[in-house]
């Protein structure tokens, strides 16, 4: 989507290795979110940020950490990847005035 990009788009990694996914926005939105999407579960919130250096946990935060040192970047880190973290990860940004989320195109992560 225009204004939000995720990198990488695809990644295969080994169990136990650290992985960082990047979400970059050019919209200057305050709110940023990381979701994971799995069959039968829809999208589940991992972590979110409501400003630079302000983050909080979502419903499935175990095994994940995040950082936001600049408005435009929100990083999701898997400190030691496990096979259960194989998923499609989506970043979203929000303009609170409209309460509408804009989603990135996703990162497909496979942990082998």
């Amino acid at each position: 989507d225009a204004g939000i990009t995720q990198s990488p788009r695809h990644k295969v990694t080994e169990t136990g290795t650290p992985v960082t996914l990047r979400c970059h926005q050019t919209e200057n939105h305050r709110y940023m979110y990381w979701y994971r999407q799995d069959p039968g579960h829809g999208l589940r919130l991992i972590h979110y940020s409501y400003g630079v250096k302000d983050t909080d946990k979502g419903e499935v935060s175990d095994g994940y950490s995040v950082s936001r040192s600049k408005t435009e970047d929100f990083l999701l880190t898997l400190e030691s990847a496990t096979s259960s973290q194989t998923s499609v990860y989506f970043c979203a940004i929000s303009d609170r005035a409209n309460y509408g989320y804009t989603f990135g195109s996703g990162t497909r992560l496979t942990v082998v």
Partner: protein, 115 residues
Amino acid sequence: AQSVTQPDIHITVSEGASLELRCNYSYGATPYLFWYVQSPGQGLQLLLKYFSGDTLVQGIKGFEAEFKRSQSSFNLRKPSVHWSDAAEYFCAVMVSNFGNEKLTFGTGTRLTIIP
């Protein structure tokens, strides 16, 4: 805690037929409700949203949804589907937590269109 239920995992509809996708929510206050669509390999796109006022809301691509408080429902409808409507559809509810709004999604309904 808030929750969203989409009881239909998969629906098949003939092209040109009408469509209704069901969504029920559980939330104590008046919720903000959304429908998103996801085409294969893509991110999610907002179809429509309900905050307050008229309970029938119009969205993009000819979709509409009706908020029914008595039934805790927010069903998505389209009078005549097109093959391009084949996708996965997600209902979502927004919860405001001291200004930190978060979306909670249903598990999705996959829509297949047959000729």
